[in-house]
């Protein structure tokens, strides 16, 4: 195999593996869940991206044509990584975090929109509430 291609493949494998390691290392070291979300996104995009680029070059040099399967995996992970991060954050906010104590007050007319639904339900239930949407 062409030595320059070997160097490229080696570089991408090493960089991808380092990013995967660092992403999981962040899961251990960082103090709370909101900080810990940073690590796996780097591992997913850059780590797997590096490994997939290495495999694209490797199989491209063997078979003589570029294979598109790896791009499919990368594309899928690029699209779904923010969605999972948003879902994990939202579930965490609604189960663990008290909005009046720990979150900063939001500017604008309605406050934190993800917590606005609670106030709406109180209003809709007809019991009345002392909280307006602005307070939340």
């Amino acid at each position: 195999m062409n030595p320059s291609l070997e160097i490229l493949i080696t570089f991408h494998i090493v960089v991808g593996a380092i990013f995967v390691f660092v992403g999981s290392f962040g899961l251990i070291k960082l103090p709370n869940l909101m900080s810990r979300l940073h690590g796996p996104s780097k591992a997913t995009t850059l780590g797997l991206g590096g490994c997939l680029i290495a495999s694209m070059i490797h199989f491209g040099s063997i078979h003589g044509r570029v294979s598109v399967q790896e791009i499919l995996i990368t594309f899928f992970l690029f699209i779904t990584a923010p969605i999972t991060a948003h879902f994990i954050t939202k579930a965490h906010l609604h189960t663990e975090v008290d909005p009046e104590e720990e979150l900063p007050t939001a500017d604008g007319a309605y406050g934190w929109s993800t917590f606005g639904a609670d106030v709406e339900q109180e209003i809709v239930a007809g019991e009345g509430t002392t909280r307006t949407k602005r307070d939340v």
Partner: protein, 89 residues
């Protein structure tokens, strides 16, 4: 040269898997564990890709794509269950 890089890659990804297992066992809140399991599946995909390079076969990419889809769907389903009480309404 590629074999030694692959060996380094295998060791690094395996250590990352062990660290995710620690977070899944210890993590004080529930979402810590969900995040750790999702990251474990991503690291498994990396292992599968590196193994495919080692064996010089493209046979394993379908399983990597399937694992990616499963991890995404299971994480979203679990979070929806926590938020709504129901996965599909």
């Amino acid at each position: 040269m590629i074999e030694s890089a692959l060996a380094f890659g295998f060791v690094a990804v395996s250590l990352a898997l062990l660290m995710n297992l620690y977070r899944a066992a210890v993590g004080p809140t529930l979402m810590d564990r969900v995040l750790a399991v999702d990251t474990m599946v991503i690291n498994t995909i990396a292992l599968i890709i590196l193994y495919g390079i080692l064996e010089s076969t493209t046979l394993y990419f379908e399983s990597a794509l399937l694992l990616a889809m499963f991890s995404f769907v299971s994480t979203v389903a679990y979070c929806r269950f926590l938020l709504r009480g129901d996965v599909i309404e």
